[in-house]
């Protein structure tokens, strides 16, 4: 007992506090109101999905029953508004499948290589920068890829197609192709588009490899590549698998880039390098402008097919993670244990002559006994003799430590055989190569957009519209489109963020049972929703169903549907990151649940939530496809998103409506609009990440 007087240590008793004998303090009403509100938001989300689905099916079934052709096998022109109406979805579905398969075959190995390079081989500082670059590339909107595809890739693809058909022409698949606008070109574009997403998810998965497994692998004397095979790949297998499937789903739903690159035809494409083919999403974008009632219904029907297919694919991706996650981890551990036994018996010989070990051995020992680093993140173990030699001081320190450990254990620190080191270096080199391969087209895009976009980008460009500006005229600008982009994205944010945050709180803090499962399920469905289908939702329900106008607000509704799952999912993840110990600390102070959530949980995760919202805004700002369907394009200024049928321009739709021009003045404006769009989106991304970094809890 110290001398402190008991009365001095006692905090002032509070009225209404613990001392009251009755333990019913009436906090339950606040909890009831709060949980009712978040549950209400969750139910609202379900009702919304149900309504939308009902309208879609209703519209589609009308057109399908009017169709005079076999909807699966018909290969004639898309003519749902003729009498009798004729259209087939089979060729479109086939084209969608083929382009996406080409994309995934190219993108998957490259993306995994990129992720391995970033997480395992690049020095930590560089790895962080490269990680950010990949994230930013994932944010480049598809209209930009389309623009690059049609104005750069297609002309250059003719030579590449010729080469492929010269070499592989004996395979019917690759017969005589010289024309760039083929499904192969579309597949290549798609592969470039989905690569950053697959790489980003794989990177996250690899980074989460449990430290103990990595250390265990190194402790067995693995080279870096062996460690990757032992610990990183087994752990990440299911996550990477699901990333690849998600990328495939993304490719299935891509719209404008494919629509801009393909020269559409309604056949079952078998010659990949020859012009023609079409995809469901691209067909909707291309045919919508000229569609009447049955035509719209036919497009909605095809959108419904796309929706079901992407949904199935996303469901598959989730199943892979859910069932493979724990299993993959277990398998990795088992592999480690097996190797453990073998290594102990074969690789360690008995000798005490530690002092004689060369610098190379020191390096190997350093690899074997990786110094425990405080920071989370990529491991930096030295693989090759050169690396160790370069890092002289550190190397000495490590071999010193290694010799101590060696002396204690009485084993010999023998270097891995030259073959093992060579294999490790080769694997490292390969990942570097994939990274370069992945970055080249992206550099080309950025270079083109910047170099060509700066011609017309000036103050006039930001303050004038395109009203009465003809294609060959210099001048004019995108003021009207900037207004439209900001207003539509802003309205979408106002709608999506409150609902999204409430639903996320419901899922994390209250979600149990059937309702929570249903909400999680539908958020997943919305997450993989192709943006063109979101446009169709609003078209069928809001515009056709409820007779509302095609204006900026309709566009905002479509964008809100795309934003909701992003907000929900990112907020959910952030709320989950709040450790339960904080909730328990608050409960243990006698704080009711709803105040714990509003005062402790949400403030703790707020920076992350804001980051998620901003990334969502950046994503929907670049959307083209849904806006094409629900907002008419005009070239003059319309600041009112609620105005009747007047329409409203956005930056992506300006690009989409002007890229076909043969005039230099108009072309310059298109590229400048693209540059402006990229700048805005990149700024949002960078700010979002800065917030996340700046407000990270615990940053003193």
């Amino acid at each position: 007992m110290s001398g402190t007087a008991p009365t001095a240590t006692r905090p002032t008793p509070r009225p209404g506090g613990a001392s009251s004998p009755a333990l019913d303090s009436g906090t339950r009403r606040g909890d009831a109101v709060f949980s009712g509100t978040v549950r209400g938001a969750a139910i609202l989300l379900l009702l919304l999905m149900a309504t939308i689905a009902a309208f879609l099916v209703y519209r589609a079934s009308d057109a399908l029953s009017a169709n005079h052709a076999n909807v699966v096998t018909y290969t004639g022109q898309w003519a749902p508004d003729d009498s009798p109406p004729k259209f087939g979805i089979g060729t479109l579905a086939w084209g969608t499948l083929v382009t996406s398969l080409i994309a995934i075959i190219i993108a998957a190995p490259v993306a995994v290589g990129v992720a391995l390079f970033i997480t395992q081989y690049a020095p930590r500082r560089l790895a962080q920068v490269l990680g950010y670059i990949v994230d930013l590339l994932a944010a480049v909107p598809s209209i930009i890829y389309g623009l690059w595809g049609i104005l750069f890739l297609v002309p250059h693809m003719q030579g590449a197609s010729q080469t492929v058909s010269d070499v592989l022409g004996w395979i019917p698949l690759f017969e005589s192709g010289v024309f760039g606008r083929s499904v192969f070109t579309a597949g290549v574009i798609l592969s470039i588009m989905i690569l950053p997403i697959i790489a980003a998810i794989s990177r996250e998965v690899f980074l989460q490899t449990p430290r103990e497994q990595v250390e265990a692998a190194y402790a067995l004397g693995s080279t870096r590549w062996e460690m990757i095979k032992l610990a990183v790949l087994p752990y990440g297998r299911s996550g990477v698998g699901s990333a690849i499937v998600l990328g495939f789903g993304r490719a299935l739903g891509e719209t404008v880039a494919v629509a801009m690159v393909l020269s559409p035809s309604y056949i079952f494409v078998t010659k990949l390098l020859q012009p023609g083919g079409n995809t469901i999403a691209a067909n909707i974008a291309l045919q919508f402008g000229s569609a009447f009632t049955t035509g719209q219904g036919a497009l909605i029907a095809s959108g419904l097919v796309l929706f079901v297919v992407t949904f199935a694919v996303n469901w598959l991706a989730r199943r892979i993670t859910r069932h493979g996650g724990a299993g993959g981890e277990r398998r990795g551990l088992l592999a480690l244990l097996r190797i453990g036994g073998r290594d102990e018996s074969t690789h360690y010989e008995s000798s005490f002559d530690v002092a004689a070990t060369s610098a190379a051995t020191g390096g190997a020992a350093a690899t074997a006994i990786v110094p425990v680093q405080e920071d989370r993140g990529a491991f930096e173990a030295k693989d090759s003799v050169q690396e160790v030699a370069e890092d002289d001081a550190a190397g000495r320190a490590r071999s010193h430590r290694a010799s101590r450990v060696g002396a204690i254990s009485g084993g010999v620190l023998s270097a891995p055989s030259p073959q093992r080191r060579l294999r490790s270096s080769l694997a490292g080199g390969l990942t570097v190569a994939t990274f370069v391969l992945a970055v080249l087209p992206l550099l080309s895009i950025l270079w083109l957009v910047v170099s060509r976009g700066t011609h017309a980008l000036n103050l006039d460009f930001l303050t004038h519209s395109l009203r009465n500006v003809s294609e060959d005229q210099v001048g004019g600008g995108v003021y009207h489109a900037v207004i439209g982009t900001l207003e539509q994205a802003g309205l979408a944010t106002l709608m999506a963020v409150p609902i999204g945050l409430l639903v996320a709180v419901y899922l994390v803090e209250y979600g149990r049972g059937a309702l929570a499962r249903a909400v999680t399920f539908f958020v997943d469905v919305m997450m993989g929703l192709p943006s063109i289908v979101a446009g169709l939702f609003i078209l069928s329900m809001w515009i056709i169903g409820l007779g509302q106008k095609a204006n900026g607000f309709a566009g905002a509704l479509a964008l809100a549907i795309l934003m909701l799952p992003i907000v929900i999912r990112s907020s959910e993840e952030m709320l989950k990151l709040v450790p339960d110990s904080l909730r328990e600390a608050s409960y243990a102070l006698g704080v009711p649940k709803w105040r714990t959530i509003t005062k402790i949980v949400i403030p703790t995760s707020l920076p992350g939530i804001i980051t998620g919202v901003m990334l969502g805004v950046a994503r929907v700002m670049g959307e083209t496809a849904p806006i094409l369907l629900v907002v008419g394009y005009i070239s003059n200024i319309n600041p009112n998103p609620f105005s009747g049928d007047e329409g409203q321009a956005t930056l992506p739709t300006v690009i989409y409506n002007t890229y076909t021009s043969a005039q230099k003045a108009s072309n310059d404006r298109t590229w400048s609009a693209a540059l402006l769009l990229i700048i805005i989106i990149m700024l949002l991304n960078v700010i979002a990440r800065l917030i996340a970094w700046w407000k990270k809890p615990g940053r003193a």
């Binding site: 240590t9 905090p11 409960y587 102070l589 704080v591």
Partner: protein, 258 residues
């Protein structure tokens, strides 16, 4: 205002699994009661049933009776939030709220319970930090984040946070297991001071610690993996460590435990 806790026939479950079985004991006011026993014997689970934190875990439930000076904590109409306001808790790892300053951390319980008056908050923060032997170390940086303190200081901050709401009972779940020996000594000294005001229950894996700080010691055990934990005996600490009634207790204390 320290109060007595009476537990009668208490069992706790995680889903279908029974974690502890049929525990009865009396915890005297103004004493330190230590819970010892092997890992997985249900000490922490039992501790968490005392302020209804157990039920925070999905699927967890409790059977039996816990009374705090004759009020049944699990009775109908008893709000778990109010129970926790009367029975505070300190956790194994220091868990200050990361978004809050040192001051805000200590004031958190009062603020969240609706106290707004600055002068009252100032008083309570100061007296609580003094009570937790932390005041002199932090009085010049009350506005700095609580996460910036050392582990031992953070734990004392968490104790200050817990006593700021003037609970009747203070539960401590291995409060020193994440701390170095010097910080541990500081917390142990603090426990000895606090017992003049609070009923203190401490779970510990460290038998020397139990011998040092507690007046009464309860020994928990399991008969095998998968079986629920039971209370073997509870007695004065001196007696438990010198001359326990049960053979199992003696085996555990002398280190002969399998």
């Amino acid at each position: 205002m320290a109060k007595r806790i009476d537990v009668a026939g208490l069992s706790a479950y995680y889903g279908p699994t029974r974690a502890i079985e049929d525990i009865s004991m009396t915890i005297e006011p103004r004493t330190v009661t230590a819970f010892i026993g092997p890992s997985g014997c249900g000490k922490s689970t039992f501790l968490r049933t005392l302020n209804r934190m157990h039920e925070v875990i999905p699927g967890a439930r409790v059977e039996g009776k816990v009374t705090l000076d004759d009020v049944d904590l699990y009775g109908a109409g008893v709000d778990p939030v109010a129970v926790r306001r009367s029975i505070g808790m300190v956790f194994q790892r220091p868990n200050p709220f990361p978004t809050m300053s040192i001051y805000d951390n200590v004031a958190a319980g009062l603020r969240l319970a609706g106290v707004k008056k600055r002068s009252e908050l100032d008083d309570v923060v100061e007296s609580s930090l003094k009570g937790a032997n932390l005041w002199r170390e932090v009085e010049n940086r009350l506005k700095k984040p609580g996460a910036g303190l050392s582990g031992g200081q953070q734990q004392r901050l968490c104790i200050a946070r817990a006593i700021a709401v003037s609970p009747d009972v203070l539960l401590m779940d291995e409060p020193c297991s994440a701390l170095d020996p010097i910080s541990t000594t500081a917390i142990e000294d603090l426990i000895s001071q606090l017992k003049s005001e609070f009923t203190i229950v401490i779970v510990t894996h460290n038998m020397q610690q139990a011998a040092r700080v507690s007046d009464r010691t309860a020994f928990f055990n399991i008969s095998g993996t998968g079986t629920p934990g039971r209370l073997i005996e509870i007695d004065d600490t001196s007696r438990i460590f010198a001359n326990p009634t049960e053979k199992a207790t003696e085996d555990y204390i002398t280190g002969r435990f399998g």
